[in-house]
Amino acid sequence: MQRSITHQNTVELFAYVVFFIFYSSLSSIYPFLPPMFAVLFVLFSKALKREDTISVLILSFCLVIFEANNGYILFSSIIYFYILYKFIMPRIKQNFSCHECIKISNLVLAYLGYFLFLTLISNIFLLTTPEINYYIVYYIVIEFFLVSLL
């Protein structure tokens, strides 16, 4: 009996999610493991572009796990990524033709932009301001290579 291609994809995605949950837990313990936040953003953008509902849902789930691990506001990364994808990235793509530049801007906006976004919300709602550290540079570098592979 031959398995349908759709089912095969779903199983694959499920495996990725399980892997991500483990990985995310480990990365929250070991800071040298990048959280794959920028990778998730690139994947999320692609899923939105493809209008792949399942992928969007699964990636949203991964992002919620990331938020939960770090104590960020629920759905804040999804909303932020959507805003990036819908309003900011098109402008960047209009102004830059260089693919590498777009990738770098993706990474910077994913990390630093999200940090600024959270800081803004935290200040408005009198919440604890998220902390930033130098590891972020390391994450951007590592994830740049990973994003290049996608």
Partner: protein, 600 residues
Amino acid sequence: MKIKFILLLFFSIWLALLVRVFFLSVESNSFYTKLSEKNTIKYERIAPVRGEIVDNKNRPVAINKLGFKILLAPHLTYKKHKEQFEEEIKILKKLLPSLDLIKIRKNYKKKESYYNHNFIDIVHFIPYEEIMPVYSILNLRENIKIVPAPKRYYPYKNIAAHTIGYVSRANQKDIDKDKMLELIGYTGKTGIEKYYNKYLQGTPGARKIQVNAKNQEIAELTYKSADEDRKLTLTLDMELQSYISNQFEGKVGAVVVMDVNGSILSAGSFPNYDLNIFVSGMSYKMYNDLSSSLDHPFTNKLIHGLYPPGSTIKPMLGLLYITTKLSPSWSVTCKSKLPLGGRIYRCWKKRGHEKTNITKAIRESCDDYFYKGSLILGNKKMSEGLKRFGLSAKTGIDLPNEFIGVVPSREWKRKKYNRNWNIGETANTAIGQGDFLTTPLQIAQQTALIATGRLPIPHLAHKIGDVVVQDTYREVLTDKELKRLPVIQKAMYQVCNNLKGTATHYLHSRVTIAGKTGTAQVIAIKQDIKKRKLEHELAYYNRSHAWFTSYGPYKNPQYVVMAMVEHGGHGGHAAGSIVSNIYNKLLELGYIKQKKRRKR
């Protein structure tokens, strides 16, 4: 379309969350901040150390002895901690064998409750020397806390006991009046300790600390030290006071040495008691013995003792006589007996004083002069005048609950007993008997009035902290009274210096003084009695109260010395000698500077 719907759903949830966050974090910010502070921030009050009292030569009168108190963690009597409780008690008993375990358990159980999360005070005071050898062992124990706890100590023990007063554990009534006492634990109960309690006890400090969920301190956030160690300097001289106490040994009564401007150098009430027994606590038997004693050792006779003033009132009445209806030259012929209202009013001198004017009447304490004068003056004028002089009112001394006494009058009797006044009572009032009652301090104050012409407000505080207490006085005499005051002063001088003076033979003072004796009867003498018994022939409690009030030096009055001996008999005999000795001591201590005694 599906993606947009999902994202819209996420956005809606996110928005709803943010709205809730806004409500919790911004709208209800102050409410939740307070709530969280309550859980994590604790305020601790720091009990102030009670201020010290010193005498006018800076000798400590009431000080604080260094010691500690032992506190035990709460909830140790609950089943699961019971063993811990027993263990702590066992260790305490082992290390400090003098502790009373029954009392400790009682103290603990009294304050133990589900709502109490503070350590419980089980031993109120342990001397420094006793706790030091075991301090390090006890301090390591999690359930035991040892904190400094000073204890009041009165180095002079029973000297000036009534004046200084004492502190004792605050009861519920005290705490209801002043919530601070819950923290401090002790409060002034009598005397200066009570009157200046607010000042002496100081103001508590405060600590703001952060605690964890187990109510354990994590950090100290703020610290405000207590306003404490305040100093109260008295006008009393404890050396003089000790001397006077020796003079009064075995006697019952009161004595006061007062600057004519109101500063009290010495104020005693006898018998007295050791103040320290009230701080440490006394046995029931001891308390019972003291409180049931007929000599009333707990009563400060100086301001709470009400006595008929006897003849000591005569100078004040004499002044009223010669400034209202009578002239200074007005005289009577004393035949010793005055029939009045169906009774015979006797003069103390059996043969009578014969022709007597104001000077002689005071000098020889002629009752007949004052009987007859009072009948001319009338009770209304007498009582009004004496009240204007300051009687039947508080002297204003800085001691609590001063009594005011009674100057009897028609209105007073009607109000008090709903009975009519009779003429004999006017005569009785004129010799300081009947319902006439004064405190010894009032008589001393009146003597100062005669000496200087103004009524001083007696005070015991010399300095409150660094602020000097100013002498205050009231002008109560009219111009006419002031003008004729020397007549009374001269008469009082003769009491002490004329050979016929009632006090002259009993005085041996090196200071020239003026004064007045008083022998106040405590029982009525029967009308049909032919021969009066002498004072020493009477039963002790039937003997008259002996008064002697004086001021000196006569030419330049500086001090008033007044002594009253309960059931002492004749005023000059019983109190005159004490007063003489006091003047000599004043001379010795340098309070009075007099080169030589005036010749009689």
